[in-house]
């Protein structure tokens, strides 16, 4: 019992010693995805820029992601514009957002959304497996808890998107459908 008390004391004392030095670090996958989404705006340009007053992020069928985006980008700016987050559940309701984020949806529906996104020259992003190879522009994923992304460059070019070389250099490039 004496050993146990000693261990506990060492344990708690160590905790107290390190507490004042806290700074940065681990967040949930969703929080990191939300944060990185805003960064892509600096590296991905539309050849025919959108005419939105705000920086518009439209989310297709992912309520939780919408809530988090709205929370994290309230009072924030991307490309010097206020951020507007929209949620849609019908692809026909899409306008021309700066980023279209697509939740996990059935393949058949995903194909329709990708086709629509392609027609509107949208920068489409999703975390769903196979998204980039199926014609989506950018697919987010986590490897060893670190966020990574795949880019379908052919689909991006056909969508009239210009992706900076610095972003491409840290992405995994995939070949696949480009509608």
């Amino acid at each position: 019992m004496a050993h146990m008390e000693l261990s506990m004391n060492i344990f708690f004392t160590l905790i107290i010693l390190i507490l004042p030095y806290m700074l940065s670090a681990s967040s949930s996958e969703s929080e990191i995805k939300v944060a990185i989404l805003g960064k892509f705006a600096h590296f991905v340009k539309h050849k025919t820029p959108t005419k939105n007053d705000n920086f518009v992020i439209t989310v297709f069928k992912d309520k939780n992601f919408v809530t988090l985006l709205q929370k994290k980008y309230a009072k924030k700016k991307i490309n010097k514009k206020n951020v507007e987050v929209n949620a849609i559940t019908e692809i026909s309701n899409i306008q021309r957002p700066d980023i279209l984020y697509i939740g996990d949806i059935p393949q058949e529906e995903q194909a329709k959304v990708i086709t629509t996104a392609y027609k509107h020259s949208l920068f489409s992003v999703s975390s769903q497996s196979g998204f980039a190879q199926r014609g989506g522009i950018l697919q987010l994923y986590f490897l060893s808890q670190k966020i990574r992304f795949k880019i379908n460059l052919t689909a991006a070019k056909k969508s009239n998107l210009k992706i900076s070389a610095s972003l491409l250099s840290i992405a995994t490039l995939v070949k696949g459908n480009q509608q």
Binding site: F11, I15, A25, S26, K72, E108, Q145
Partner: protein, 766 residues
Amino acid sequence: MKNISLSLLVFSLTFTSLSAEDLSQSSLEDLMGMESEAKAEVGSRSGSRDFLNSIVPIDVITQGQIKKSGQKKLTQILSYYIPGFNSPTPSIKDGSDHVPASTLRGLNPDQVLVLINGKRLHRSALLHVNDTIGRGTSGVNLNTIAVASIDHIEILRDGAAAQYGSDAIAGVINIILKNGDYANAVSSKIGANLDGGGESVQADIFYSIPLEYDGYVNITADVQTQNKTDRAGIDARDQYTAGVAGTTKTTPLGQPEATNTLLVLNSKAYYENDITVYMAALVNYQDSKNNAYFRTPKDANSSLYPNGFLPIIQTKMLDYSLTGGITQTLNDGSSWDLSQTLGSNDFHYYVNNSMNYSMGTSSPTSFDAGGLSNLQSVTNLDYKMQIAALKVAVGVEYKYENYKIVAGERASYAQDSNKTAGSQGFPGFQPENEVDTSRNNYSVYLDLNYNFTEKLLFDGAVRFEDYSDFGSTTNYKLAFSYQLHPTLMLRASGSTGFKAPTLSQSHFTASATTVDSTGAVTSTKTLSPSDPIAISLGAKPLKPELSEHFTTGLVYKARENLSMSSDYFYTKIKDRIMLSTDIAQGTGKVRYLTNAVNTQTQGVDVRVDYVYALESGANLSFNGAFSYAKTEVLSFNDTASGLATSVEEKNRIENAQPKDNLKLLFDYDFQPINVALNVNRYGAFKDVYNNRTYDFKAQWSSDLDISYAVSKKLTCAIGGTNIFNSYPSKWPDVGSGTTGSIVPYSSYSPIGYSGAYYYIRAIYEF
């Protein structure tokens, strides 16, 4: 002191939780270098969750941690990170030397359920029958899985039989294999023990073949060899002449000499209509040798071995597990999953450098002593759907098990004269021991997960099981979590559980006949509970062990980089199965397995995870974990078994495993350098000799791994386990020629007794 510490802690956390970091201010590079919270699927069928938000206590060993530990065996990785995980390495304990028992929270090896990608892994065929941790049980051999194939490991520290069925009493270990996003890699590790022996060479390759739409076929091959260590003392038994004690070492004591070959295949393929086909195959072949006690010239009394001999027990183990499945997500978001898992463990004994005394000089010196095998087949159909905030999972499962004992060659058990029968070191299984028995069971389960509000989450589960041998059981689980504050979560769960008696417990038998110098014959038999002799002594068909669980705790996420959790747990187990003491029967002794004892286990698990980003760009992380688990015998059911009065057996339940375990892990990451230091403290334990209890002190041990990334593809490392060469405390002089002399250390020692082990390793990605 503790109260002051706690007060300071609360103050510090209150103060520090006031400012939350804004990730949107981080650069793209920073975000890509940031580790997300680990996610875990175990404990709920409603999908993976950040483990800190889990409704029940879960630990996750991440891919980064697996790499940084430098360890290449799964039991070593679990020992490295999980407080309360105990995997002693006994020696001169027959089969238990080769498949050591591993436990959680001081309970039995078979009270932990092991899953691979969420699918049940089969047990080892070996039943531990010697005086080791887990005597009378068959656990899963965790070292059949190549570490290079593993993505991460989830450890549920709660009862979960209502979700997964039998065995999930102390917890569940879910091993998730790598997906197709990992780079191909080859790695190697070479090391040796400071005090001699233990030279080991390990090499593995991980190769991933990409399939369409992020599908993959991953192949991992791993080869490991290790030499024996020897930490024995002097053999003080009479050697040549009665009354003249030995003064030299005769019997090595330490880890076995072993060669291990492991193959893992993990694959996922995506098809049209949201159909995914998956497969996982694990194959392990282990050839392992360790010695029995030296047979003195006086006892051998044979011209075959005029100077005595050291029997070598060799075990050859073939273990495989194959899982195939198909899953589909339907348009309404619901999904179904049909899978089939087939697992087998074949464990065969050979005895070399030995003899059968009763055969005299005509005795062979090598024997096939027979073997054991265990087969398990599980078919599962699972359906998941969501109705508003309610997630529902229902499923049916069918399981078939088979257990066999195969007799050894005749010379391994024969008695051809009035001398001791069978191969010395390990007498072979006899035809009367042979068994080929099966059972099946089906189960139906329902899992519910409901978000009452954003703050209140509820989990419920019920599972009905019907076994062909002992009947049916229904188990329940209720759990909730409540977000008291954005940084503070309360969680609690209550459940019932069970562990079905294994086929090895119900059907294992073994016999040995010894003849002493006066010619008196003594037979020692392990009987099945259905044997007429066992029944005459009071044995009954084995029933399942039944358990009740309660867990409650707090999770405090002070900041993005600091989290703490503290959980209290209580587990009550009724009818725990134990091997009886040796009971006099005629001219011999018998023993049998029985639902002997009721116990309670309670304790706390505390953990702290912290990452500190230095201005230089380096990351300093700290993980602290403490586990305390105390098991007490409430009552014995069976007086005939002799267990109620056995000091040794009561000690094995209550005091043979450390009650407390502290782990302090420090990691300094400043690429290209990474330094990982793990400081461990295992609490005191007790062992028994000749009905007297002896105390063994708590032990500190430190592991260190320093790696350097020579290039983006090549990383080299140097490190060691138990780097300060710590040894457990020794047996005092107990007046035995073996315990305390040949065997200076208790077999219960949680970190073994081979001392410091140093290594170099390298990994190359391609």
